[in-house]
Symmetry: D2
Subunit: 286 residues, 4 copies
């Protein structure tokens, strides 16, 4: 039984017209995303924080995030894109981050133009956008820090999230692409895709664009592709499904006073064993 060795994100992007990315918060979710046919996995900062019962507010450390991303990547053949928030500090932190993620076998990371410490984009209230110049410098530092040409840097602007409008978002993404970003995320919390579509109308295509349709879930992959998107991230649906299901299961156990009723509605143990690739492991027993 050989170690799982994954495709790089750069290769996945070259091979597919659109890369569909599923948010996951552990290797189990990553395996299920791969099984469903996703081309990549998003090691979600929100999800990894939630799995530890903590807010998505730069409370978890890079050690915890890179560990979680690596634990996913070691089990799946599709690439993991690691949510790296703000880059964890200044330029030195950014360079160190690239070293650590590369060493952990991660081929793509995403940094956003928020100040450290950040708060989750969907939490109302004050967020602080980093100025363009220092964030551009972070991108340059990150690209200079990589040792493998396959390494892929996604730069995400929170300009729309924080109400700075499409013009600012376009200007920022152009600057990020020119600084070396391999793709940009245009993040929006609008209830429809209209903001993102406006951005795309003004985007000159100097690098691929990534969308994260959380608040505008009715926007389909096909529509996104037609509008000019190359990568679609379903960042938190797996997490939210897991919460609903575990909540319902625990409630049923308590309310019914036993597991009998639950049994037919949950995966059998044999499914768990299959996800663990138990048969392949057991071949090595004497």
């Amino acid at each position: 039984m050989r170690r799982v060795v994954a495709t790089s994100f750069r290769v996945a992007l070259a091979e597919h017209g659109v890369v569909r990315v599923a948010g996951a918060y552990d290797a189990l979710g990553a395996l299920l995303a791969q099984e469903a046919g996703f081309e990549a996995v998003w090691a979600s900062g929100l999800g990894i924080s939630a799995a530890r019962g903590l807010p998505d507010a730069s409370l978890l450390t890079m050690t915890e995030y890179v560990g979680a991303a690596a634990a996913m990547q070691r089990r799946v053949e599709i690439p993991v894109v690691a949510d790296c928030d703000t880059g964890f500090g200044n330029n030195l932190n950014v360079a160190h981050m690239v070293h650590e993620y590369e060493a952990a076998g991660i081929t793509a990371i995403c940094v956003e133009d928020n100040l450290f410490p950040k708060m989750n984009s969907f939490v109302p209230g004050t967020h602080s956008l980093e100025d363009v110049k220092p964030f551009v410098r972070k991108i340059e530092v990150a690209k200079a820090a990589q040792s493998d040409d396959q390494f892929f840097l996604v730069a995400r602007t929170e300009a729309l999230i924080q109400g700075f409008g499409v013009t600012e978002a376009v200007a920022r993404c152009e600057a990020y692409a020119d600084a070396g970003a391999d793709a940009v995320v245009i993040h929006s919390k609008a209830p429809t895709s209209i903001e993102v579509e406006r951005f795309l109308l003004r985007w000159d295509g100097r690098c691929p664009v990534v969308a994260i349709p959380t608040t505008y879930p009715q926007w389909s992959v096909d529509e996104a592709v037609r509008a000019g998107v190359s990568v679609v991230i379903y960042a938190n649906q797996g997490l939210r499904a897991s919460v609903s299901a575990q909540r319902a299961a625990y409630r049923a156990l308590v309310e019914r006073g036993g597991a009998g009723d639950l049994e037919p509605r949950i995966a059998p143990l044999s499914d768990i064993f299959a996800l663990q690739r138990l048969d392949e492991w057991r071949e090595m027993e004497e």
Copy 2:
């Protein structure tokens, strides 16, 4: 905002006629179990392994298991019972294990009379029961290693799982209790509770008995209590619910080409924020 400080398992057992324990594999699951009304959480070896995409076969290390259990315990006020498999080696490993789990804030652990490395009890094939004498010595070593009187040691026999019968199981559990075990688990993979009930008929009550109704889910908590059980562990239902739900969600995203249909069937982001206790954290912002 103060650190979460949990009740010890010993106190929970004293306060409740029966302690219902929900298996979880991360802090998120532990929070949902607590919310549903469980009195304790089982830091499941199967679940923690599955979350990393690896078989429940002593592949994960004590470092990973104690880290996972501590990550749960730090977020919930109910006690976490840590599944410690075989004790991770010999007597020295057992003593070290107790030191590490106590230092991590875990107030109850469970060790089983299998040889290291073990294979999950529900996997057919050869398992090797440890002899009574060395396992009794492990229990003595574990109890001598604890530094806090609250620490609670559960000893689990796999005698029924491996076909040695009720007489052997009773003899072993008596020896384990006499060696200092604070409770015993009578584990069975029979399709009904009959084996466990036979055990209970012959049990003299020298310490509390724990049951894990995985293969006999129709056995209710009430029936278990009437038969003499003090603690019921629902070891893997949360995990299995999570797998079913994430699998369905990922499939729906791929098949429907978008998240629209899924939206009403999964927890909203506000539920995630509530589980993260975001409002309490935000009070500390300026």
Copy 3:
């Protein structure tokens, strides 16, 4: 063999006229410091960074620092004071830090009034002092976050290091004490103790004062005590001794083409075994 349970720093301070603290970067160093008679150990940020070959510049994460401090504390009976740099971010990070260090069994931490990410105090060039008001708020948040009354918070001012003078240093330390700091560090990189002594002349004693005589090593413990110091930290001498000795040993091995000459000048294996408390561990073997 029981788990090592340490005295809290608060108790050590109450019991000793002066607490002498030795910087260490791993449990081995902590054990040697305890053996020599120190009353406490400083889990040095510089040392822990250096042990990983990285600058003391907020590159290592809180996870790495708390892990290193806990690994020390689990082996010694004297308290570990953990160097927590700037508190790792904003108020939320500070509260989380207190939760994590308390959960890891650390009874005293030290935070400094630099902005995150910091650079080691002895590195020339620009550092940025945090304003008094937000740092005072961090102290209040930290104290509110503790769950055990034994927890001890040391606040360190870098005012002298950054050239703001004694008046500013005194004003800051008074504000920090009033906000709840249990002690203050007056840090200086002057070549003599003169700056620190000027501070002490103006200090009204509202809380204990800590000194770190790195650049003014000729200042003795007795002199420091007479001047009003309650805690003296020898922050990096163990690290620097270790570097000199390992460097010399490796060079000798290469230059002499063998280990023969080195043998009499280095600790025998039996010393290593004694530090590992091997005899106590072996008592548990059958």
Copy 4:
């Protein structure tokens, strides 16, 4: 600043008539070994355990060992050879170990024919040699598990340590080489090199031989090479030098009541900064 990317051990062995390997227990030691001119670093199980104040008795977990080895490898350009003790369990553990060490960027590991859990070879008393057949199978499993052709497996026999004589040692090493081991360690605790030399006289050269002259330090590298050795490991001299020096430094601080006398005998802070490559890191600051 780019990530450090190391030569593989296989390449180092091909490029040098003899590979001199220095034992280290953290990245700082690895950096000092590299600086002195060693061709490789031994991530010593004894050293890594001692750094945590624990016996070299399979108490630390693979997670801790691979983390320590990776922390070294990420800072040096020479290869790290990781001491993997017995392989951490059965065939499944061995395969998992290879996956984990490869994923961590380690290009060479060493496993020994002791039963898990092991005790350090230099500790008198009972050790248990694993039978040839299962250990040969472990070697086959390890080699089948590697995903990179550069990965290098060293098999170590404890036959001499446990008194089974040279004939048994040769037979075992031949079997290990035939099973795929890339090199063998002939370990001895005799006070001279005589046992090892007898082994070498009977060794047919089917793979390179490694020696660890701990108890026979007067045996020089030149003599070892002439006798047929390809790799010499100085496993614990750095650790022992570090212990002597830290012990002396801490004692001096306590006895002299200050750091003044110590100052000229220990590395200056500037040496620490140089080892941290501070100047290179600072170039990234604005």
